[in-house]
Symmetry: C2
Subunit: 230 residues, 2 copies
């Protein structure tokens, strides 16, 4: 995302990793996260980030272009962690752990504030939406290892759509958290994981049998176009 | 929701259905929807609603309490439609139709603008969040008929969690639309419907077998430690 920074300024934080620029970027990122957690996207200002980070406002505008760039870069940086998906040795256990992690991450108000603000910001800023898409594409990409290992162990059919599986597991939680505004809990996480695992075993996430009751031939000749790459 | 209107003012629109009050309420609702579609929640003002609806600002404040009350009431009114879930005669067909409807509703930018603004408003207003929860609880409640008919036909196990099923079907679409900001299409809708239908048939949405490969006892005694929040 930082390559898309506005104007001709160098992308923030990419020149001297570990050096002063990286430290500045981290300080600015921390200020953005704190500001998002405290005030949400609508209440966040460049002035706040400057005061909180100790980086001058003109520097922020020059390097990040403004508020949208600051938020997008904070999200880029959030994706540069070492998080790895669970590895319990079983598909069910891994999917359950993934689902529970969503519950727990958003169940703690303090921990949830900044990620929630990112999701909210995407409604108001195309740039935040792009950064959020990049973040989740990469994050769910890491999760796919869970499905690939299950395929390797013979727990899931070859050709299982790993990206769809890992999204389907957490989707009912995200739906309740950010659309229907209903409560989530561990039981719901476990139910979602069990349902998706059952669907995987039934071959519902395998393109050739993905139409459920339809036969493989039906699926191939159906007028529905092939899945576009996401 | 209108029972929760702030202050001692009578709930808007509830006194004379079909009369002047109902017409005023509908005019105000239309103005709110138009305003949300054009400006989103952060840009909507009581002044805009007054100008657009022809209802005086002081009346709006008196009856609805302010912007939050206006948005909540518009959502209440949106839930008072005659929408009914599909009835294709088969669980797979019904779930597919439900999922496709989400795709279509949010695939048309003009049609999607107001509902999207409601979802966005819930991030900023507790009252909008409450109204959204009430709206979706009622809406998904209607969808449960799809599962109840499938149980009656013997297509789904007795005791299938209908609320969880209908939410699971649309959840992967809502996730991509409003969290990961990824594209959705009919193929994705069909995949989600087929996966949930397969899980229903496997009994994964029936409480007694909801833990997938784990037994009920396993689920009760599971000691998997909670993941650390990110």
């Amino acid at each position: 995302m930082s390559e898309n920074a506005e104007g001709a300024a160098p992308p923030p934080g990419t020149r001297r990793p570990g050096g002063r620029t990286a430290r500045t970027r981290a300080a600015v990122r921390d200020a953005v996260l704190t500001g998002l957690a405290e005030h949400g996207y609508p209440g966040l200002t460049v002035e706040y980030v400057a005061e909180r980070s100790g980086v001058h406002k003109t520097t922020l505008y020059r390097r990040w272009g403004g508020l949208e760039g600051l938020v997008a870069d904070a999200l880029d940086l959030a994706g540069e962690d070492t998080w790895a998906p669970p590895d319990t040795g079983l598909l069910d256990g891994d999917l359950r752990a993934l689902a529970r992690e969503v519950c727990e991450a958003f169940g703690d108000p303090a921990a949830a504030a900044a990620p929630t603000a990112f999701i909210a910001a995407a409604f108001q800023s195309e740039r935040a939406a792009d950064a959020l898409r990049a973040f989740y594409t990469e994050r769910f990409g890491r999760c796919e290892a869970v499905v690939e290992r299950a395929v390797a162990r013979g727990e899931a059919p070859v050709g299982t759509d790993a990206g769809a599986v890992v999204r389907a597991v957490s989707a009912p939680l995200f739906l309740r958290l950010f659309v229907t505004r209903e409560p989530v809990d561990t039981a719901l996480a476990d139910q979602s994981a069990a349902a998706v695992a059952a669907a995987v075993r039934a071959g519902a996430f395998t393109p050739s049998t993905g139409a459920g009751t339809a036969t493989a031939t039906d699926a191939r000749t159906a007028t529905a176009p092939p899945r576009t790459p996401r």
